[in-house]
């Protein structure tokens, strides 16, 4: 059981690292956009095709933060019923919610993969620079698919907690990482 909880903490740290890399990319896009606007305004010479690059980068950036949300359980849920029924029932409800989220991210990951396969078959490129979109969308899809194992572990951990009455995960993760979640 401890193995599952340790794995859960490692997944949180891993997904956090992925999100950091993704958002450093977002910062780079922001800096390039500022340069583009400045060049356009001052010298009427914008960076050619920046929109193409930004479009591809943004998909990866957004995909990079989805595993983090899943692993850290930052999804918004309403917990009135659990509070009314008591801690034991709340743990089982949490496990049910976790299972439903697993089904949701599995459907998203599977269908996005199919969508990306379709994109690869059609040989889609960007509008101006004619960059093939498949490698970038494959990367974004891979990041989204990472939500599935992350949530599967979270689900197993939630079921174990419901069975054993272990305390909620959020506090453990906070203590282990020393960084408060957003």
């Amino acid at each position: 059981m401890d193995f599952v909880f340790r794995l859960e903490s490692r997944i949180i740290r891993g997904t956090r690292a992925i999100a950091i890399v993704g958002f450093v990319g977002l910062l780079v896009v922001a800096l390039l956009t500022m340069l583009d606007v400045s060049l356009r305004w001052v010298a009427n010479a914008p960076i050619k095709g920046l929109n193409d690059i930004s479009g591809l980068a943004i998909a990866i950036v957004i995909a990079s933060c989805l595993p983090l949300v899943v692993a850290q359980r930052q999804n918004i849920s309403i917990r009135f019923l659990g509070e009314a029924l008591g801690p034991g029932a709340a743990r089982w409800l949490d496990a049910f919610g976790s299972g439903a989220l697993l089904a949701f991210v599995a459907l998203i990951g599977w269908q996005l993969a199919m969508h990306t396969v379709g994109m690869a078959e059609s040989g889609r490129t960007t509008w101006h620079l004619r960059i093939p979109v498949t490698p970038y969308w494959s990367a974004a899809t891979l990041l989204v698919v990472l939500c599935i194992p992350a949530q599967a572990i979270a689900f197993i951990a939630d079921v174990l907690r419901a069975m054993t009455g272990a305390p909620p995960r959020a506090k453990e993760a906070e203590d282990a990482d020393g960084v408060r979640a957003a």
Binding site: V37, I76, S77
Partner: protein, 436 residues
């Protein structure tokens, strides 16, 4: 059972059941939408919605303003811009009775002009304004109440993250929403200031007057707040004059806030990473809800529920304003149970056709929606801003925070009533500037 309308209603009920069973709201919307659409049109087309709607959300460049504004808000707070805005307001009106409450509200509005999030505004202003007010002997109720209420200005004063979301979902220009929000923002700020003034008039001990800032102190405060003023002016001037788009404004704001934070030596690696992680987790949370909402929206449209509801309601011969008032009452009740962004995502597919069916502008409704969300953010039992403020001021009982909020809650209700009764207050400026 094959009637799309019945499936639609059951799908909607199923979503609420899932939400009650601790299923995250985004997943509940997505699963309910998928099952209901599957029953109507077959599960093969239904399952493909998860691929297309996810790809649409990830590839939508307009939505990219959301993570950028979140990041900008994070860097701006880190750079101390919220403190700058507060200090400037404090230097100007801190010597009046209740002056620090006015400063807090004005500081929130000022910081709201460089940060599109209410929670971020409330959190940063709590750490800055609350110690000052308590040191000056302000009552905890007024101090916490004005911060929680002032924090809501983060989503009303442009740029606003929720308006980006609304604009994308309803296919309205975000810039039109931003222009439409200007007059309502002024009204909301004014009425919040009036509420604070009434509190200190009724109870002078609630917010004692402080020493008057000297001319040199005022000049120093103005100079010290150059960064927040510069950022707000660059963004507003750039967006409203058309030099750059909303997305570009978000990117430029992020870059400038990052530079200011770096120049002020506030960016240690640990804090830098934490800012990125905070922005990333909020972004991911919004996007997962958005994907679920898009699947739900697809099924709602296919079920014809909105058309049938609009037709049924219009047959009642009830004045449109009464219907709107009822909708807003429902929103406030929902806002007290649900998190505010999710309220908008859940209800928009049903409510917007009704409002537009009565001939109201979707832009006007967007602003009304944001004001209602603001009210929900301070309404019991789960006003998000109240929790944010209370989590940072743990010695203040929740009851005290809610008591302090009451005058500001009424001020926001009055703002809502004014905008509801006089739509030109919202639509005049966009119309004058030739926007629809």
């Amino acid at each position: 059972m094959t009637d799309p309308l019945i499936i639609g209603l059951l799908g909607f009920a199923g979503m609420f059941v899932l939400i009650a069973l601790h299923v995250p709201i985004g997943a509940a919307m997505g699963i309910a939408g998928f099952v209901a659409f599957g029953l109507m049109a077959g599960f093969k087309p239904a399952v493909t919605l998860f691929g297309t709607e996810t790809a649409t959300a990830l590839g939508n460049l307009d939505l990219a303003a959301i993570p950028l504004f979140l990041l900008m808000g994070g860097f701006a707070a880190l750079a101390g811009m919220s403190a700058d805005a507060y200090r400037l307001a404090q230097a100007l009106c801190g010597h009046w009775r209740g002056g620090l409450a006015y400063s807090t509200i004005l500081g929130c509005a000022g910081f709201g002009a460089v940060c599109g999030s209410s929670v971020a505004t409330a959190a940063t202003m709590t750490s800055i304004a609350l110690p000052e007010m308590r040191e000056r002997g302000y009552r905890a109720s007024l101090a916490t109440g004005c911060i929680a209420a002032g924090g809501t200005l983060g989503i009303l004063v442009p740029p606003s993250i929720i308006m980006v979301l609304y604009g994308v979902l309803t296919e309205q220009f975000v810039i039109t929403l931003y222009v439409a929000a200007i007059v309502p923002s002024v009204i909301a700020v004014t009425l919040l200031l009036v509420a604070a003034a009434i509190v200190v008039r009724v109870d002078p001990g609630a917010g004692p007057a402080g020493p008057r800032a000297t001319r040199a102190e005022r000049v120093a405060a103005a100079i010290g707040s150059w960064a927040v003023l510069f950022l707000a002016v660059v963004m507003a001037a750039g967006i409203y004059t058309g030099i750059f788009t909303v997305n570009e404004a978000a990117a430029i704001g992020t870059a400038l806030a990052f530079f200011v934070a770096a120049a002020r030596k506030r960016l240690t690696p640990r804090i830098f990473y934490r800012t990125l992680v905070d922005a990333a987790s909020t972004t991911g949370m919004i996007y997962l809800m958005l994907i679920g909402a898009n699947v739900l929206s697809y099924f709602v449209t296919a079920s014809r529920l909105p058309e049938v509801t609009v037709a049924a309601v219009q047959q009642l011969s009830v004045p449109p304003i009464a219907i709107l008032a009822l909708l807003l009452a429902i929103y406030i009740v929902l806002g007290a149970i649900f998190e505010e962004v999710s309220v908008m995502l859940i209800t928009l597919p049903f409510v917007l056709p009704l409002v537009v069916g009565y001939g109201y502008s979707p832009v006007w409704w967007g602003i009304i929606n944001v004001i209602v969300i603001e009210i929900g953010m301070i309404a019991p039992p789960i006003g998000l801003n109240v929790f944010v403020v209370q989590s940072l001021a743990r010695d203040v009982p929740m009851k005290t925070v809610y008591r302090g909020i009451l005058p500001f809650f009424y001020a926001l209700l009055l703002t809502l009533a004014l905008l509801l009764a006089f739509p030109p207050l919202t639509m005049w400026l966009p119309a004058t500037l030739g926007m629809k």
